[in-house]
Symmetry: D2
Subunit: 438 residues, 4 copies
C-alpha cells in the first residue's frame, strides 16, 4: 500500500555534482568510502518525525499553510497510522538509515497516561514491522514533556511534584519503546525546564529535582539493559525565557554536580548553539574537550533572527568545520546526524519536504568530504601541535604536575629572566588553509 502523498516521485539517487536534477543527490553517495567507512556509516542521517510529519505551517502569527491529510482526522489513531505510512515511504524515498521521534509525535494523547502509553505502543509495534521491511533504524526516541499544558511550568522541575511523577512515568514508557525498537540513543530536551521569571522560581530546588530525575532515568536504563546513550540537548531559551541546559558547558557542570558526567552525553543542535552565543563548532569542540560529545541535531539558524529557525542545513563551511571536529574526536559512535529541520512556512508542496532533506544531506555529504580531506591532510593538526610544542619540555611539564608551586615558578622566572616574545597565531593562514578544502 502506498499513500500517494508523494505522487510518482522515485527514490532519490546519487547523480554526482554535475547533475541539475533537483530530486537527485549531488554529493551524498551512501556507499562511497571516506576514511575507511562509507558515507552512510559516517553520517548516520536521521529524519525527524515532528517537523517533518507533525507541523503544518502554523506559526505564532498565522494558521496552517500545509495540507497534511493525516492531521485533524476524526479517528486520531487512523491519522497516526497514515502518518507512519507516509513517514516510512519518505525514509525509503530518501534512503536514510535512521529516524527519530517524540512519543506524542507518533500517537495521540489519550484520556489517561495509560491510554497515551498504549497508543504509543500500538504505533511503535507498527514501526517495528516497517523497520523490518525497510531496514530503517531508530536513532533516538524521546518523550514530549513540553507541549501539554500540564508541563507549562516544567516537567521534572515543576513546582508540582505530581508533574514530576507524571513525567517519570511518561519517560519510562518512551524509554521502554525506544529500547524495544533498538534505539541507538535516548534524548532529553528540557524545553520547559527553566523559568519564565525568577520571581516565582526556586532555582536550587529545581536543579536538584532535575538532577534527581536524570539519575532515575540512568538507573532505569541500566536496569532494563538499554545500551544506547542518554543524551541531553542543550538550548538556552525558547520556549522558556531561560532553560537550565543553556549550552554544553552548562550541561557539563550540571552533570558533574549530580554525578552523571560518565553516564550522559550531549546532543548538540546548530541553532541552539547560535542562540546561546556560540558557534556550532565551538559547542562540538567543547563537548570533545569535556568528554561528553554524543550526537547532533543538524539544521541552520538564520543569523538575523533571534529565535530557533530550524532551517535545513545548507551552509557547507559551517557544517564542514563541525564535521572536522567530530572526525577529530573519532566520529559518531551511537550518535548521528538528525535533521531537526523544518520547511519554511511557505514551502507547502510535498516535494518541498524532499528538497529540504536532499539539500541538507548533500550539504552534509559535501562537508564530510571537506572535513575528511582537511583531517587527512594533517596540515591544521600539525600547525596546532607545533604551536604548543614548547609544552613538551620537561620544565614545562613540571609546571603542570604537582611538583611546582607558584613560588618555585616565580623563582625560576626571576632567575632565568624569562621574557616571552609573542609569536604569530597565523589565523588568516589557517582560514585560507581551511578554504582550500571547502
Amino acid at each position: 500500500m502506498m499513500s500517494e502523498f508523494f505522487g510518482d516521485i522515485s527514490p532519490i539517487k546519487f547523480e554526482g555534482p554535475a547533475s541539475s536534477n533537483p530530486l537527485a543527490y549531488r554529493y551524498y553517495d551512501p556507499g562511497r568510502v571516506v576514511m575507511g567507512k562509507t558515507m552512510e556509516q559516517h553520517l548516520r542521517f536521521a529524519v525527524c518525525y515532528w517537523h517533518t510529519f507533525c507541523w503544518d505551517g502554523v506559526d505564532p502569527f498565522g494558521m496552517n499553510t500545509m495540507d497534511r491529510p493525516w492531521i485533524g482526522q476524526s479517528d486520531a489513531m487512523a491519522g497516526a497510522r497514515l502518518k507512519a505510512e507516509v513517514a516510512f515511504e519518505m525514509f525509503s524515498l530518501l534512503g536514510v538509515p535512521y529516524f527519530s521521534f517524540h512519543d506524542r509525535d507518533i500517537a495521540p494523547e489519550g484520556a489517561t497516561l495509560a491510554e497515551s502509553n498504549r497508543n504509543v505502543q500500538v504505533i511503535t509495534d507498527l514501526f517495528a514491522e516497517k523497520m523490518q521491511e525497510t531496514g530503517v533504524n531508530l536513532l533516538w526516541g524521546t518523550a514530549n514533556l513540553f507541549s501539554h499544558r500540564r508541563f507549562m511550568a516544567g516537567a521534572s522541575t515543576n513546582p508540582d511534584p505530581d508533574v514530576f511523577a507524571y513525567s517519570a512515568a511518561q519517560v519510562k514508557n518512551a524509554l521502554d519503546v525506544t529500547h524495544k525498537l533498538n534505539g541507538q540513543n535516548y534524548v532529553l530536551w528540557g524545553g520547559r525546564e527553566g523559568y519564565e521569571t525568577l520571581l516565582n522560581t526556586n532555582m536550587q530546588r529545581e536543579l536538584d529535582q532535575m538532577g534527581r530525575f536524570l539519575n532515575l532515568v540512568v538507573d532505569y536504563k541500566h536496569k532494563i539493559g538499554f545500551d544506547g546513550t542518554i543524551l541531553i540537548e542543550p538550548k538556552p531559551q525558547e520556549p522558556t525565557k531561560h532553560q537550565y541546559d543553556f549550552d554544553v558547558a552548562t550541561v557539563y557542570g550540571f552533570l558533574k554536580r549530580y554525578g552523571l558526567e560518565d553516564e550522559v552525553r550531549v546532543n548538540i543542535e546548530v541553532g541552539h548553539a547560535v542562540l546561546s552565543g556560540h558557534s556550532f563548532e565551538h559547542e562540538i569542540a567543547t563537548a570533545n574537550a569535556l568528554g561528553i560529545f554524543g550526537s547532533i541535531d543538524a539544521n541552520r539558524n538564520d543569523y538575523q533572527s533571534g529565535w530557533d529557525t530550524d532551517q535545513f542545513p545548507n551552509n557547507v563551511p559551517e557544517m564542514s568545520l563541525a564535521l572536522y571536529y567530530i572526525l577529530q574526536a573519532g566520529g559518531f559512535t551511537t550518535g548521528g546526524l538528525n535533521f531537526d529541520s523544518k520547511l519554511r512556512r511557505q514551502s507547502t508542496d510535498p516535494a518541498d519536504l524532499l528538497y529540504g532533506h536532499i539539500g541538507g544531506m548533500d550539504t552534509c555529504a559535501r562537508a564530510l568530504l571537506a572535513a575528511a580531506a582537511m583531517h587527512e591532510s594533517g596540515d591544521l593538526n600539525a600547525l596546532v601541535s607545533e604551536r604548543y610544542a614548547g609544552w613538551d619540555s620537561e620544565v614545562a611539564q613540571a609546571m603542570l604536575s604537582r611538583e611546582s608551586t607558584l613560588e618555585s615558578i616565580a623563582e625560576r622566572v626571576e632567575r632565568e629572566n624569562i621574557d616571552p616574545q609573542p609569536k604569530s597565531g597565523r589565523q588568516e593562514y589557517c582560514e585560507n588553509l581551511v578554504n582550500r578544502f571547502l
Copy 2:
C-alpha cells in the same frame, strides 16, 4: 599636600532625596541602618583604579579626550605617585570604604618582571600609608595578564609555557601585595584566556593549563595565610572571540572539573552577564544556587551595544533585583560592590568622575532600600514557598530520595491516575509586587 585635580570640591555628603545638589548623595547615607547593618556595611563600595585613573578617553576609533596630568609623565613613577595622590583624594571626597586595582594600573611596567614587581611594591607601600591615613581599605587586587603583547595568546592558557611561568610569577607578586594590604579578595579575570579562532587552538590543553594555574594560586594562598576569597570573573568574550570563563554556570563546571568548587567563587559583572545572554539577577541567582557567589562588579551595559560598555549603574530596578537576590543569600561576606564603571568618552571634566560615582552609589543605595523592603515584607518569598509546597509531602520527598525508581513512580501514576492540573504562575502579580518596592 593636595593635588588640586578636583579643585575646591568638598567631600560629598548625604542631603536626602529632595536635594538638587548634583554633588550630594540623595540616597547613600553610610550610617543608616537597614536590616541590622549600616548601608556602608551592606554595600561595601569600591572605586576601581583602572577606569577611574588610567583611562583617558581613548577608544578604538579615537584618541584620548581627557586630560589626566599623571598620564604620560616622563618620570613614570612620579606619575604613579601623583595618580595615587589623586586616587586617595577621590576616595575621601566620595567617602568610599574600598578600592580595587590591577598591578599594572598602579605602577609602570619595568624592564624586567623583577623591576615591575618592585614598582608595584613601591606604590603599594605608599598605599599602605594612605590607607592608614584615610581608613580606606582594599576590596581586591588582581594582576593584569592581558594588556602586554606577551599575553596576546593568553596567560595561563598560552601555547608558550614561558608565558604560563611569567603569569604565575606576576600573580604571586600581585597576591603578595594584596595580602600585605589586607585585601578582602583576590580576583582573576581571564581576559585573554580563550581563543580568537578554534583553528589554531587545543581547547582541552588550555583548559587543563588554566585548571592547573588556578590550583597553584589556591595552594599559594593557603601557604601564605591569605584568608581573602579567590574570585573568578566570568565574561563571555571581548577581548577574545570566546573566553573560557563564559558565565557563572560555565565557571562552576570548570571549578568542579578541577576540584576547586569549595575554594573559588565568582565576581559577577552586570555588563558581562548581559553580554552572555543572561540578566544580572540570573547570574547572581545561579551563583547562589551553585554556592559560589562572591562579589559584584557594578556597572550597566547599554542594551543596544554588543560590547562591554561599563557605564555607571543608574538603573534602579535592575540593581534592586540583584541586591534582593544578594540579600536573600545573606549579603556580602568578603565581597563588595566594585564600580567597574567608566565615564563616557565625552565626559571630560574632573567633576564628571564624581558625578559618575555619586549617581552609581545613589542608585545602589536606593536599590538596597528597595531590596531590603522587598525582602523584609516576605511577600515574594511566601509566594514562592507556597508554589512549591506540594514537595513537602512524604510521597514527593520519596521521589527525591534513593527509595523511588522510575518504575515505582510510574506504577503510582497509573494506580492513582495522576493528572496534574496547571496553576497560574502569577508572573504579572509578582512583577507588580516588586514595583511596589521600587
Copy 3:
C-alpha cells in the same frame, strides 16, 4: 447581563502609592491634572482585543493553557458576542477610555470575504451599543492581513495580485467600520510584508506594491471623510525573516518615496524598537525629529529574548523617558497608549488579565508623573539648549544657509585658525538628573 468571567471583582479604583491591594491603582488617578490635562487625557489607555481576548496560551512549543469560554464555541458568532460581552466588562472594570482591534479578532472568518465582512459589521454594531453604554471609545481599528494562509507571502506585497485585491477589499471594510465607530486612528501593520528569503523575492516590485496600496488607503480615507490618522507600525522581523517597515527611519524613507510623509504617521511599539536594535525612546525621538510621531503600543520586551515578547510594561525608567519625549513634542493628539501586551503563558487566571493591565497602567501613570516633572523642571532642556548655543551666532547660521560654500568656510577656518576644543558632554550628570525624577 454579566458574563461572570471575572467573578465578583469590583471596578478597579485609585488607592494611592501606599496601597497593597493588588486590585487597585497606586498611581493611575484618571482625573488628576498634570500639566493642564487629566491623566486620562494624557495617557489615552487602550486595551487590545487580540492578546487579551483571543490568545489562550498557545506557543510554538505548546498547546493552550488558558480556559476562555468564548474560544472554540461551535456557534462562532455566539462566541464572538460572548467575547464582546467580557471585553466591555473588562474595559469597565479597568476604567480604560479606549480599545483597539483587528477585524478577525472580533468576528469569525466566513466562507467568503463578503460573509467575513458581514460578521465584522454585526459585531461592530454590537460594539456601537456597548460603546454608547460604557463611554469606552475606539483608539484604532485594523485588518488582520497575516494570519490566514492566503497572506503567507504578504498582503499588498504578495506575488499574487489577487491577494493584493483581497487585502484592499478587507481593508476597505475595516476602515469603514473604524470610521463608523469613530476610531481615532487606523493602523497598518505589515506582518507578512517582507520576505523569508531574498532568493524568491523582487524587493523593488514589492515596495512599489506596498507604496501603491498605502496610497489607495489614504485616498479612500479622504473620500469617506475619516479624519483619524493613518498609522504604520514598524517592526523589523517576525513573523517574516525581514519586514519592510523595519523601524521608524525606514518607514520615513518609504513614506517619502511614495509621497506620503504628510499623510501617514507611525505607531511605535516598545518591543519592536528593541528588536530593531534601538531603544524605545530613540524611536520616539526619531519620529519627532522626522515629524511622523503618531501613537504607541505600550509593552515591554525581555532583553534576553530575541523575539517579540509583548509583556506588560513594568519598567518605569524606560517608560518615563518615552513619555518625556512624547511630552516634549506636545503629547498625543489622535494617538494613545495601546497595551499590545499579553499575559505570560502560565498566568492562567482571569484575574491575571487584570493584574497585567493594572501593573501596566500604574507603570505608565508613574512614568507620566516623572516625565512631566522632568519636563516642567526644564533642567534638561536648558542643558541641551546651552550645549548648542554656539549655533545661534550669525556666522554659524550662515553656514546652514545657502550663502556659504565649502570654500568660503574653509577660507574662514584658515584665516581665523579655528581650533575647536572639546567640552564635556556631561552624560552622567544628565543621567543623575533624570534619576532625580524617577
Copy 4:
C-alpha cells in the same frame, strides 16, 4: 629602493585551485574573462591604508602586538614616506588595481589645519608619482573626522559650529586631493555623527546640520568638476551608541529628506550590515531597489561578536550572494571592492598581511565565478519572474495605476468572489539551486 619589510617575497601569482602555495592565488586570475569583463575589471579590488598600514594591534584591552617600523618615528613625515613606500610595494606584490585612504592615515596631523593639509598634499604628491610608476589607482579618499578629540561629539553634527566649520575645511582638502589623484569616489563615514545619549542631544538639529553639510560637499564636487561618486557608508553604531547613518534604508530616507537621492550613493560594508541586523545581501538588494548602490567594503564579521570585527572575507557563500545581487544590478560602475579588513591581533608577521589579502581576494574571485554562473544560468531569475507573473495581467496593472480605488477593487473582489490560494515559495528548492553554483 625597497623597504625590505616583506623580505624576499615575490609578487603573488595565480596558480589555480590545486595549488597549495599559501602565497599564490588559487582563484583570482586577473585577466580571466567572466561575463565579458576580466576579473580585475569586475572586482576592482582596493587595499585600505588604515587597517593595513596604520594599525599595530592595539585593542581596547591591550597594547600593540605588531612591529611596524614607520609607526612612532620621531620624524613623522619620514614615517609617512616609509609607510607609502611599503604600501605601494604591497600593492605591487598583490597586484591590486586600487587603494583607499583617510587623510590622517597617510600624513601626520600638524599644529594647525593648514599644516595638516600641507602634510596631506606632500604625501599625495608622492602618491601621484608612485601611482604613475605602478599603475595602481585610487578607489576613494576620505577625511578622518572621528579620531581627534575635537570630533568627540561629532563633525557636522557637533553642538559646536566651529567643529562643523573645521570639518568642512578638512573635507575640502580631502576632496581636493582625491580629485587630484583621480579618485573614483569620495566617501563619508559618519563615525561620530550620532549620539552617546539622547539626553544631551537635539536630533533634529543634528540631522539638519548633517543634511546641510552633505549639500555643501555635493555642491563643491560639482564646482571642481569631480566626477567620482559621493558615497555614504552606513553603520548602526560604534564608536557612538547610535549613528544616524544606521543602514541603507535609513540613509535613503536621509537623502530624500535633504534632496540628495540622485547625488549620493552608499558604500556598504559586510560587518556594518551584520551589526544593523541585516544580511549583507539584504543591504545590497535594498540599495539596488532604492537606486543608491555604490560600492562595498568587503570584510567579514564574527557572528558571535557584537562589534565591528573587520575580518578578511573568507565566507564564499556570503560573498557569492552579495556579488550575485551586484551583478544583477549591472556590476560596479565607479565602485569597487575595498578590503576594510584587518588582521587578527595575533597575526604579527608581515606575511600575515599578505595571507589576509590573498585569502580575501581568492574568496571574492571564487564568489564572482559562482555569482556569474548563477546569473548566467538564469534559473533563479526565471523562478522569480514566474512567481510574480500574475502581475503582468491588465487587471493587476490597473490596480497599480491611478485608475483603481479601494472601492473599485473591493467591488471586483466581491463580484468575482476572489479567494486566493497560497502557492509554494519553494525556499529550499531555491537554496539548493544556489548551492549548485557554490
